[in-house]
Point group: C2
Chain length 152, copies 2
């Protein structure tokens, strides 16, 4: 029932959400620049997004997200946050790289894995401090078992 939207379209959607927040209106040219593609490709993507009911689109008019589009973005941006956090906190990448890589991965890493990254972050007490003494991977396995059932 839930029409899954492709990675490329998801990216368009995110850029739209971001531009909407920052500038109110969303223009084809801005999207083209952000996506690193031609304006005509943007138009084509907008038409497909519109057909899927994720954006409000009429020729030559600024674009806005539908409620459906907003919902899609919310899940995605949570995935993005978790990935970026994991990359920066656990793998010790600089923030900028973490953000870029999260952009690429958020469409590809399974929900299951992303959720587990969040559990890992929780476990190492990322909120409290940036280091975790007495970290034990055996303990983490226990922790995981107690918090989740899938995928095993």
């Amino acid at each position: 029932m839930k029409e899954r939207v492709s990675g490329a379209l998801e990216s368009y959607l995110e850029q739209i959400a971001d531009l909407q927040q920052k500038h109110g209106a969303v223009r084809t040219s801005d999207l083209a620049e952000r996506m690193g593609c031609k304006r005509s490709s943007v138009t084509s993507a907008l038409q497909r997004l519109s057909e899927k009911g994720l954006i409000n689109y009429q020729s030559y008019r600024p674009v806005t997200l539908t409620a459906e589009g907003q919902k899609t973005i919310q899940a995605l941006s949570r995935y993005h946050r978790i990935l970026a956090d994991f990359l920066a906190t656990v793998l010790a990448f600089p923030e900028e790289f973490a953000q870029q890589e999260a952009c690429r991965l958020e469409h590809r890493v399974s929900q299951c894995t992303i959720e587990r990254m969040q559990v890992y972050l929780d476990f190492i007490g990322h909120a409290g401090k940036n280091s975790a003494k007495d970290f034990d991977f055996g303990l983490f396995k226990e922790f995981v078992k107690s918090k989740t059932d899938k995928p095993a």
Copy 2:
């Protein structure tokens, strides 16, 4: 200069390598089953792989990897190993899921991130034992700095 091959073609290539090891010859039908697609799609993929010089292919004949194809596979299977190891060891996923997810991710996660996962595995002394007492994320950052320069 290095013709980058798509994720889908990479998957075909891997299945070819695996089938070659296990059965000597590689048949279209087996590939179709492994890839979960129709035989005609396999034929089309084989033709593209052949054009890129990664396999030896002639109509109605069994397929083999070229030296070039072997090289591609070697890098890929190293990525696969690291990803699966990371998923199982760090994120505590069961081996089977780790393998499946690694299959999906090996074509998508940047080389940089995969290498960093290996560094992380090295750091927590995965080889020695399955737990690391006194693990400190600050220390890991230092460790990373001492081992690598990119991406910052």
